[in-house]
């Protein structure tokens, strides 16, 4: 039990500190790396809560795929660090406003009755959750009660994917392409021509 609380404090401390470093690091690549650290620690907290499936999905999707592409883009861009800092004061009021709104919303959520300790503990100790694996439980809810919403979110992702491809696809005329099947059908008879060469004459 005490090991449990120690691990909780380690995970949450590192998650919060690395989240702070995401916005304060000077180098954008370092920011992304701290973001990844924060994700990993959040998934550790999920494991401590008993939500193993969510934890693993967080790592596979966000850390294994989304953050890799993010890191790719940030690394490839030629970023001028001085220029990046220029607009800092200009955007400060807007950022501060967003932060304040978020804090107020979270505060309302914590103070309201719907998030009081009783309801939370009832939720965590509900007998069904302890008996059945949470993978199975999520599947049961997702593919029955929320089936249409699930399908719609899939469609939205598909539309986003098709949209981004059509935005970036350009038909460049002078691209040389490989014709794989014609490459595979080459055999020695087609590639090599046998010739009889007379001695001392050549072809």
């Amino acid at each position: 039990m005490y090991l449990y609380s120690i691990t909780f404090y380690i995970f949450s401390l590192v998650a919060v500190l690395s989240a702070l470093m995401v916005i304060s690091a000077r180098n954008p690549v370092h920011s992304v790396l701290f973001l990844i650290l924060s994700f990993v620690n959040a998934s550790g907290l999920f494991v401590l809560l008993g939500a193993e499936f969510l934890a693993m999905i967080l790592v596979v999707v966000y850390v294994g795929a989304v953050a890799v592409l993010f890191l790719f883009v940030v690394m490839m861009l030629d970023i001028n660090f001085v220029k990046l800092r220029e607009g800092f004061l200009q955007y400060l009021p807007f950022g501060a406003l967003l932060g304040i709104v978020l804090i107020i919303e979270l505060g309302i959520l914590f103070l309201s009755k719907s998030f009081s300790e009783n309801t939370l503990s009832k939720f965590v100790q509900s007998p069904q959750i302890n008996k059945v694996e949470n993978t199975k439980l999520i599947g049961q809810v997702l593919y029955t009660d929320y089936f249409y919403l699930f399908q719609i979110s899939g469609l939205i992702l598909l539309v986003a994917m098709v949209g981004s491809i059509t935005l970036t696809l350009r038909d460049r005329g002078n691209v040389k392409r490989q014709n794989i099947s014609s490459q595979n059908y080459i055999d020695a008879n087609k590639a090599i021509e046998k010739k009889k060469v007379k001695l001392g004459e050549g072809i």
Binding site: M1, Y2, L3, N27, V29, H30, L33, I36, E52, F53, A55, M56, I57, V59, V60, V63, G64, A65, V68, L71, F72, M75, E133, N134, T135, K136, Q140, Q178, I180
Partner: protein, 340 residues
């Protein structure tokens, strides 16, 4: 709360966990050394050479001598590199290749963490492996490592997709994400037989995922010097090397668990089932590792566009089709495992 004692609540459970971790990692690290030796010996036999035969009997201590040589050399950090990330990258590669072993069941109940989402954990850890390589390539601040890192990241992300679908096909036949249950579901027949095409796809994707020949373009010595670890020397190079071979063993144990029945004997008859499960598990891992080395000695390296074509245009549709086929078959013949 009041009866907290350091001994019962902290020291004893903590030291049990550490002892378990050591009991798994020490054999893994030692087997990495022998895997390197075995690879050199098998390649030598394929190419009609002798291979290492000087250090120790039959040259068996060669890898220990190599490790000692590398560790005593100077660790050079390039002046223009991003030093913290540069030194962190090999550590991350090494740690991630060892972290996956926490959920591997060696025999019934021989597992450190028997978690319900074991296969997801393995998948997550292997998808993190790309970070060590990207970080190394970027932090080196040099062209060849950066190109190697980009190649490697694109390659690992593409092959992970088909690995994911292969895992889903196996999970459809098992009905659980727990690795122990995956092995137990293969008591009648190993999944390598009914799911043979998926077994082949998984093995080839494992080659690409571990950056092995014929897919070792990230460290392609004829075009990229040494790829992402061009700038690394001594101890940090050793960490990359160890991490790469440890993840090779991890991927082959994943193959064994998913398709070759883990610790189960091939037939449940007397002389075979008297042999302990761990030994079967190790024999199967050695077989898969031999295939890894055999492929390396036999096939020429792929071109990069061929590699991407194989991943996206052949393996992805094939594995997707097989997921649909397996699901349809299981439902049509009412064979869906532990349906609710």
């Amino acid at each position: 709360m009041n009866n907290f004692s350091y001994l019962n609540d902290l020291i004893i459970p903590g030291s049990i966990i550490i002892a378990q971790i050591l009991a798994v990692l020490m054999p893994v690290l030692i087997s990495v050394a022998f895997l390197v030796y075995a690879e050199r010996k098998v390649l030598a036999l394929i190419q009609l050479r002798r291979g290492p035969n000087v250090v120790g009997p039959f040259g068996i201590l060669q890898s220990f001598a190599d490790a000692l040589k590398l560790l005593t050399k100077e660790n050079i950090v390039p002046a223009n590199s991003n030093k913290i990330v540069f030194l962190l990258a090999p550590i991350i590669t090494m740690v991630l290749s060892l972290a996956g072993w926490a959920v591997i069941p060696f025999a019934p109940n021989w597992v450190i963490a028997d978690i319900n989402v074991g296969i997801m954990y393995l998948f997550a850890v292997s998808s993190l492996g790309v970070y060590g390589i990207i970080m190394a390539g970027w932090a080196s601040n040099s062209q060849y490592p950066f190109l190697g890192a980009l190649r490697s990241a694109a390659q690992m992300v593409s092959y992970e997709v088909s690995i994911g679908f292969v895992i889903i096909t196996v999970l459809l036949c098992v009905g659980s994400l727990n690795l122990t249950k995956i092995v137990e579901a293969q008591e009648t027949v190993w999944f390598a037989i009914p799911l043979l095409p998926m077994f082949v796809v998984f093995f080839i994707s494992a080659l690409a995922e571990t950056n092995r020949l014929p897919f070792d373009l990230p460290e392609d010595e004829s075009t990229l010097v040494a790829g992402f670890f061009t700038e690394y020397s001594s101890a940090s190079f050793v960490l990359f090397f160890l991490g790469e071979y440890a993840s090779m063993i991890l991927m082959s144990s994943m193959t064994v668990i998913l398709f070759m029945g883990g610790w189960l004997p091939p037939f449940d008859i007397f002389p075979l089932n008297a042999i302990p499960g761990v030994i079967w598990f190790v024999i199967k891992i050695i077989f898969i590792l031999f295939l890894f080395i055999w492929v390396r000695g036999t096939f020429p390296r792929y071109r990069y566009d061929q590699l991407m074509r194989l991943g996206w245009k052949i393996f992805l549709p094939l594995s997707l089709l097989w997921v649909v086929l397996t699901a349809g078959f299981l439902i049509a013949f009412d064979m869906v495992p532990n349906s609710l």
